[in-house]
Every structure is written in structure tokens, then in C-alpha cells.
């Protein structure tokens, strides 16, 4: 099968989740004998990481024309994770790359410009199926389908409700919904997300296929080293400091744990719009001596943070999937994750709590710190589980979703 895929970002130029997942999906599809034409807002040579016969990178700007993308009216927007984090993303790309500017400074304009240019490829590139990702590229998918008449599969990695809670940006919400309604099939990254699409977007459940994310196999040297007091155990939070990730619940849990066990340091890695609030909250709770902020971690530092941790906690309020716990596991940390996450559907050997159940979260964290057998068993069994999750297998489910989209209705 030939796949015309509309992507938004791709390693090495990615801000996180979406680019990594897109890379995994492409890799899995290629291993299963599919050909992928991936259209991106901007292409650089480093992105070509696969056999060029099976994988073609196309620059949206060079499609040689435009179509009229349907613009949905709106007065205000703060999309991406937030508008602020989009700016941070742009800055980091500028700093880390000699490539010309890849993305427009106004996200919504760029989304529409991308859609109108990228869709043109549908008239040139041979393909059997169209695959778009999230609201960012789904308009391109809709327009491409108009040109070629091929079925469109929309892949939902996150929704506006995950990013903004109960106050979604109307314009983004409308684009998500329009994409799903137009699409022949919808792929959700978890059952958690599927339920959300049914409930908040009115998409019929039978139209949605769940395909969980995987992790790329990678050999890591497991080593527990840190410069903190040897007797102290470490509980790690690693993620953006935003409402969605629940850093405030993490601190409340920390307070409860410290009431029983004082030899624990809580390391919070990452930054985001809640950073100041989180810092002052740690002071208000009177636990600032035991809470350490490491800021945003890159590359090796991330692996080291996981390796130093006695427990990784992901207290997310709403997490469509959540790849971080899988990375923590691969680096030898047992994980405690919120039930409000897609990843809790695929890792059995993890501790699970409702993000709001502080007492239970503290209880489970204390147990891991207190009972070595628990730590050891979680670590060993979850590692085995994660090793079995491959994109090659997940891509088979994606191909099945394609087949359903291709089947006559």
C-alpha cells in the first residue's frame, strides 16, 4: 500500500510526542512493506532515516500549488500545548538547528498555509490511503481526499480537552471534530482517548480504532547514580509543568509521603506555565527542602534522571497516551501512573491510581520505597512488557484500520 501521510514534525526537529510517534509509525509501516510519502511543513536532509524507496519526504512548500483550505472562524486561540510552549518550541529549534526557519510564528496561520499547500500532493503522488495526525494536519487530509478521492484516516494523539481541560479553544475543537467527521476511520492512541472522542465529539465508537503507541527498541546502560544524599530515595516527576500533567497532585502526594518517611527527595524535571505556581506551592506546603527542580532535561539527562529514580510518578489529569512511563521503565524505574492515561491500558506491571486520590498515591509510593521486593518486581516485569511493545506490531493494527477505511461502506 502507498500511504500519503501528513505530518507536522519529525525527528530530529521535534518538540516531543507527536514527532516521535510519527517516526515510530513510519518505521513500523515500512517494516510491514508499506510505502510512505510524508508531507511536512519543512524537510531537512537529516530526516531521511529510512530506505528512500519506501520513504519519501515531501516539503509542503514545494507542492507547486495551493487548494482552498476551509478556515473556521475564531476570535482567539492558544493552541499547540499552549501558545507559549509553541514559542518555546520555535526558540529551541532556532537554537539547535542551522536549518532555515521551518514554522510560521503564528501557529493558526501556519496550519492553514500547510493544509492548502500540502494537500496538492494528492494530485501528484500515487497513494491508496491518506493518513493525517491531530488537528494540525487533518485539514490537509480533508482537502487531499477531495482531490484524489482516497479514504482518509485521522490519527488522534491528543485532544483539546487533554491540553486545556474543560475550557477548550473553540477553533481547535472545531477543526478536530471536522477532521474526525470527514475521516473514513479514526485512530485513537488509547481507549481512554476513544471514550473522549465519543463523549466530547460525538464520534460513533465503531468508527474508531484503538492503536496504542510503542517505544523504539534502544539499549540503555542502566546505572543508578546521583549526587544526592546516599540514604535518600528519589521520586521523580518528569514532564511539562502544565495543568494536564498534574504537578500539583505530585506535590500533595510528596507532602503526604514526607509525613511518614523523611528520607525522600522529590525531583521535578521539566518546565511549563505552571512552574512558578509549583515552586511556590512547595514552599506553602513546607516541603521545599525535599523538592528539587531540575528544569528542562535534554537527551542523556532524561535517561540519567530515570536511572536515578527509585520511583517515577506520572500523576496526569488527562493523558491520551503518555510515552514517558515507558521510557522510565526502559531505564529501570518502577512507575506509578494515573488511571486517567492511555499508557495504563498497556502496562500491567505498574502501580495505578486516580490522579485525585492523593492518599492512595502516597500509600503506593511509600510501599515502593519501603518494600524492595515490590520495587524489584515492578521493575523487572514491566521491562519485559515494554520490550514486547514494538511499532512493527502496532503498524499491523494501523494497516488493519486502513483496510477498514478502504472497505466499501
Amino acid at each position: 500500500m502507498q500511504v500519503l501521510m501528513f505530518g507536522w514534525e519529525f525527528p530530529p526537529h521535534n518538540s516531543g510526542g507527536l514527532g516521535v510517534a510519527c517516526h515510530g509509525i513510519v518505521e513500523g509501516l515500512i517494516h510491514n512493506g508499506q510505502q510512505v510519502h510524508l508531507v511536512l511543513p519543512k524537510v531537512t536532509p537529516e530526516m531521511q532515516q529510512f530506505d528512500s524507496k519506501a520513504f519519501k519526504l515531501l516539503n509542503a512548500h514545494e507542492s507547486g500549488g495551493t487548494v482552498n483550505a476551509v478556515k473556521l472562524s475564531s476570535t482567539l486561540y492558544s493552541p499547540y500545548a499552549t501558545m507559549e510552549s509553541y514559542r518555546t518550541f520555535l526558540e529551541s529549534i532556532k537554537k539547535n538547528s542551522s536549518a532555515p526557519q521551518l514554522y510560521g510564528s503564528n501557529l493558526m496561520d501556519e496550519v492553514y498555509r500547510y493544509a492548502s499547500q500540502a494537500a496538492m500532493y494528492a494530485a501528484e503522488v500515487p497513494h491508496d490511503i491518506i493518513h493525517s495526525h491531530d488537528w494540525l494536519t487533518t485539514e490537509a487530509g480533508i482537502q487531499a481526499k477531495k482531490l484524489s478521492g482516497k479514504p482518509h484516516v485521522m490519527h488522534v494523539h491528543a485532544t483539546e480537552f487533554d491540553r486545556c481541560g474543560e475550557n477548550p479553544n473553540q477553533q481547535v475543537y472545531d477543526m478536530e471534530r471536522r477532521g474526525m467527521e470527514h475521516a473514513n476511520r479514526v485512530i485513537a492512541v488509547s481507549d481512554f482517548t476513544k471514550q473522549m472522542l465519543v463523549k466530547n465529539y460525538g464520534i460513533p465508537a465503531h468508527k474508531i480504532d484503538v492503536v496504542h503507541n510503542a517505544v523504539k527498541p534502544e539499549f540503555t546502560q542502566y546505572q543508578k547514580t546521583h549526587s544526592l544524599n546516599e540514604d535518600d530515595q528519589i521520586v521523580l516527576f518528569l514532564g511539562r509543568m502544565t495543568m494536564q500533567k498534574g504537578p500539583d497532585y505530585f506535590l500533595q502526594m510528596a507532602k503526604k509521603v514526607l509525613e511518614t518517611n523523611q528520607n525522600v527527595k522529590f525531583v521535578m524535571a521539566g518546565d511549563g506555565d505552571m512552574m512558578e505556581q509549583v515552586i511556590s506551592m512547595s514552599v506553602d506546603l513546607g516541603i521545599e527542602r525535599n523538592v528539587l527542580f531540575s528544569g528542562f532535561l535534554k537527551g542523556d539527562e532524561v535517561a540519567r534522571a530515570y536511572q536515578s529514580a527509585d520511583l517515577y510518578v506520572m500523576p496526569s489529569v488527562s493523558e491520551p497516551f503518555g510515552i514517558a512511563p515507558l521510557e522510565a521503565i526502559r531505564n529501570g524505574a518502577p512507575v506509578l501512573i494515573s488511571k486517567q492515561s492511555g499508557v495504563s491500558e498497556v502496562v500491567k506491571n505498574a502501580l495505578r491510581v486516580d490522579f485525585w486520590d492523593i492518599d492512595e498515591m502516597a500509600n503506593q509510593a511509600l510501599a515502593v520505597l519501603q518494600y524492595p521486593a515490590l520495587q524489584q518486581t515492578l521493575m523487572e516485569r514491566s521491562m519485559v512488557e515494554v520490550e514486547k511493545m514494538t511499532w512493527v506490531d502496532r503498524a499491523k493494527d494501523i494497516i488493519n484500520s486502513y483496510k477498514r477505511a478502504l472497505a466499501p461502506a
Binding site: N363, Q364, A367, L378
Partner: protein
């Protein structure tokens, strides 16, 4: 009575654990440890199983016993199950009464086991023997019966256990008829265990805890016919099974076709009504089984009668621990990961402290310690089923083995603190008594001295 071609030996296991209450590290002392994860859960489960299984099945068994003068069955009832009968009001009482009626027919045998349905054999022979005696006492108190045939928790068995049980004075023991050890032999004959030599200390313990003065002449091994047992216990309602639906007629023909003189059908009593629901037809199947068996000249015997009626055909050597659980027939359901190992070790590590301070601890505390030994707690911690995704094999009140472990360890930690505090308090108390005694003595000596010096 010898007109039968062969006989069926029915044995049913009846057990309910005391599931632990949810417990967090920072919870206060002194709550009831054994309520079940949610309020009164143990009682609710007991009542549910009573209505689905114990009461209707006992009624049916009584009906069959009344209808067929030659029908025989046997049970083992764990001590913690019997305790729940005594504890849980009207329902508990009617369950117990229905068992009393069955035993009163004289054609229902009660077997011996460890009171707490524990894995004590693996950790402490003294505990093991103690719990067997304690169970026998309760059974005698309730039913006026003295068990003479033993079955260990989950049919855990090897040569050594057999020898220990023989040394305690039993006539026989039950075990799984697993091909691995039977090889070409059939479980449908009586066998003897291969003689094992006990450690002298273990032998002393067994002798000290004898249930009778002189040992029986023979000691017999009854082996479960797992194929024919599991046809009822596991496969009965499985519509994917090529033999489904299993009619009484067909099953009786299989029994007839089987070799040997005894077919030992050992199973969980909850097979009737709980594992196989009433609408699967399990009760009707059972109701008609005796008459179809009689058609083929197949009769029924209790374990004791079976042992008495037939001769052993040879020896079976089981050097390693075997159970009736899962495909593996080993201990992996209770003891295959670090969670289970650490939890079991810690609960039995308390033995010395508890036993050397028995006078300082209440009976209740000692009883709690033993209830923490019940095998189910460790079964819930098994990650084997969890990883295989085999939810059917995973009967647990917990969301995960990890939750089961956390609850158990938090309870055990609290319990350990309680024990230490009680011992300390009692030591302080006795020190106070000693000081007071000294004071009194000093006063006496003082006044004696005064009188003496006044006299002189």
C-alpha cells in the same frame, strides 16, 4: 456390596479466606485486619457463595444421600471457612447446619487439613502440625468426627509430607494424579508413597502431634483423576470444548470405560453453582449422576472406605513438591515472584518472637498471625496470570498483584509493631510487678529489722 465394577471417590474442598481490609502505611492501629478490601466484603462474599453454592449443593447432596442408600461423598472444610460459618449470622448458621445434616447421615467423610489453609509445611513443621491438630479439634467440636485421611492445602504433596502425615497417625493422604510422576501408571488404583526419611527433628514434631496412639498398618495414597475431575470442574460449561454439552449419560460411559477400581474425583466445592453457574445445568448433571453410575455397576465410596476396600498396586515417588494448581502443578501460584517470597518469609519470620512470648500475647493476636498465613493472600500476589493476561485464572479481590502485596505488607508491618508493643508493654508490666514485690519485701525486711533491733 461387592457387585460394583468400580467406585467413585468424591472429595470436595470447601474454603473461604479472610481477605484483608484495605490498609495504608499511615493508617491508625487497631482496626479489624480481615474485613475484605471493601466494607464487610468477606461476609458478602460468604453469603453470595452460600446462596449460589453451599446451600443448594448441600440440599442436593442430602437429597441424593436420602434417595440412594449407597451414595457416599467427602469434604474438607478449612478452619477459617468454619469460623466464617460461626461468625456470619443466620446464613452462616444455615450453612453449618446443612453440613451437620450431611455428616449425620454417616455416609459423608470429613478430611483433615491445616486450619488456616496455609502453606505452613514449607516454613514450619511445628506450625503445620499445630494447625492440623487445631483443625481436628474444631471439626470434632462441630461434627463429632475425627478425620483420618489428610489433604494438604491445594493438594501440595511430596514423599516427605506423606511420611510426616503417616507419622502423625493418618491412614491416607490425597494428591494430584499427575502424569509427570505417574508415568505409565493409572491414578485409578491405590498406591503407597515412596518412603522418605524425615529429619529427626521433624519426626519428633510429627510424633508429638500424633492423632492416635498406634499407627495404622498401612498408609495409602489416593490420586486425583484430573482428567475426569476437570471435565466437571473446568470444562463442563465450556462451549468451545468438543465434548460440550456434557450429559450425565456420556460422563457415566467415560467412567465405565476407565480402567482401575476407583475413580478419584477431587474438586473445589464451588464448582457447583459458583464456577459453573446453575444455568449451565451443573445441578441436574449431579442430580442424575448416581443413577447413571449405578447403571454401569459403578458405586461410591468415601476415601476411608476406598482405602479399606482395595489393595495398593505399588509405590509412587514424588520427590518434589506438587500441587493441583494450573498447568505446572507446582507452587508457582503462591511462590514464584519476589513479592510472594518476601511476604511469606516475613510472616513466618515472626514465629519465634510470637511463640517465645505466647503468655504475653492475646490469643487474638496469635490467631491474626495465623490468618495472615492463609495461602490466598499469596495467590493474589501472583504475577503469572497477570502477565499471561489469563483473567479467568485470576480470582482476586484486588486490581493487581501489586495492590494485594501492598495491602498485605502494610498489614503485616502494622501487625509486627503491634506484637512488639504488646511484648514491651507486658515486659514493663511485669517489671512493675517485680519492683512492687521488691518494695513489699524491703518493707518487710525493714520492719523485721526494726523489731529485731528493738528486742535487742
Amino acid at each position: 456390596m461387592n457387585h460394583y465394577n468400580k467406585t467413585i471417590c468424591f472429595y470436595f474442598q470447601v474454603h473461604q479466606p479472610y481477605r484483608l481490609a484495605k490498609r495504608r502505611v499511615f493508617d491508625e492501629h487497631e482496626q479489624d485486619y480481615f474485613e475484605g478490601p471493601t466494607n464487610y466484603e468477606n461476609q458478602k462474599i460468604f453469603e453470595k457463595v452460600a446462596h449460589k453454592c453451599y446451600l443448594p449443593t448441600n440440599a442436593l447432596m442430602l437429597e441424593l444421600l436420602e434417595k440412594h442408600p449407597d451414595f457416599k461423598i467427602s469434604y474438607s472444610l478449612s478452619g477459617v471457612f468454619l469460623e466464617q460459618c460461626l461468625e456470619y449470622g443466620e446464613v452462616g448458621k444455615s450453612v453449618l447446619d446443612s453440613f451437620k445434616k450431611l455428616f449425620a447421615t454417616g455416609r459423608v467423610e470429613v478430611l483433615s487439613e491445616t486450619y488456616y489453609h496455609s502453606l505452613s509445611w514449607l516454613y514450619s513443621k511445628e506450625e503445620f502440625a499445630h494447625q492440623i491438630k487445631k483443625h481436628a479439634d474444631l471439626v470434632f467440636k462441630l461434627f463429632k468426627k475425627k478425620p483420618t485421611v489428610f489433604r494438604n492445602t491445594e493438594l501440595i504433596y511430596n514423599n516427605e509430607i506423606a511420611e510426616f502425615i503417616r507419622e502423625m497417625g493418618f491412614k491416607g493422604i490425597l494428591a494430584e494424579g499427575w502424569d509427570h510422576y505417574l508415568e505409565w501408571r493409572s491414578p485409578n488404583h491405590l498406591h503407597n508413597p515412596k518412603l522418605a526419611e524425615l529429619h529427626s527433628e521433624d519426626q519428633r514434631i510429627a510424633k508429638e502431634n500424633r492423632i492416635r496412639k498406634t499407627l495404622p498398618k498401612d498408609f495409602t495414597l489416593l490420586l486425583k483423576n484430573y482428567k475426569l475431575s476437570d471435565d466437571i470442574a473446568f470444562r463442563f460449561s465450556n462451549q468451545g470444548w468438543s465434548e460440550w454439552p456434557l450429559t450425565t449419560d456420556k460422563y457415566a460411559a467415560w467412567l465405565n470405560a476407565a480402567d482401575g477400581e476407583t475413580i478419584n474425583l477431587f474438586m473445589d466445592y464451588e464448582t457447583f453453582g459458583e464456577h459453573q453457574w446453575e444455568d449451565t445445568g451443573i445441578f441436574d448433571f449431579l442430580r442424575h449422576l448416581p443413577e447413571y453410575a449405578y447403571k454401569h455397576q459403578i458405586g461410591f465410596k468415601t476415601p476411608s472406605e476406598t482405602i479399606k476396600a482395595y489393595d495398593s498396586v505399588g509405590e509412587v515417588d514424588v520427590p518434589h513438591l506438587m500441587s493441583w494448581a494450573d498447568m505446572e502443578r507446582d507452587l508457582s501460584a503462591w511462590l514464584s515472584n519476589p513479592l510472594q517470597e518476601s511476604a511469606l518469609k516475613r510472616v513466618f519470620d515472626l514465629e519465634h518472637e510470637i511463640k517465645s512470648n505466647l503468655t504475653k500475647l492475646s490469643d487474638e493476636i496469635v490467631h491474626d498471625w495465623r490468618r495472615l498465613q492463609t495461602s490466598d493472600h499469596f495467590y493474589y500476589m501472583c504475577t503469572k496470570y497477570w502477565n499471561d493476561g489469563d483473567v479467568h485464572a485470576y480470582f482476586s479481590p484486588y486490581d493487581s498483584p501489586y495492590e494485594a502485596y501492598i495491602t498485605f505488607m502494610n498489614t503485616l508491618t502494622d501487625f509486627e509493631e503491634k506484637v512488639t508493643e504488646k511484648i514491651k508493654r507486658s515486659n514493663v508490666d511485669s517489671m512493675h510487678v517485680a519492683i512492687e514485690n521488691l518494695r513489699v519485701r524491703l518493707r518487710e525486711v525493714g520492719s523485721e529489722y526494726k523489731t529485731k533491733s528493738l528486742k535487742s
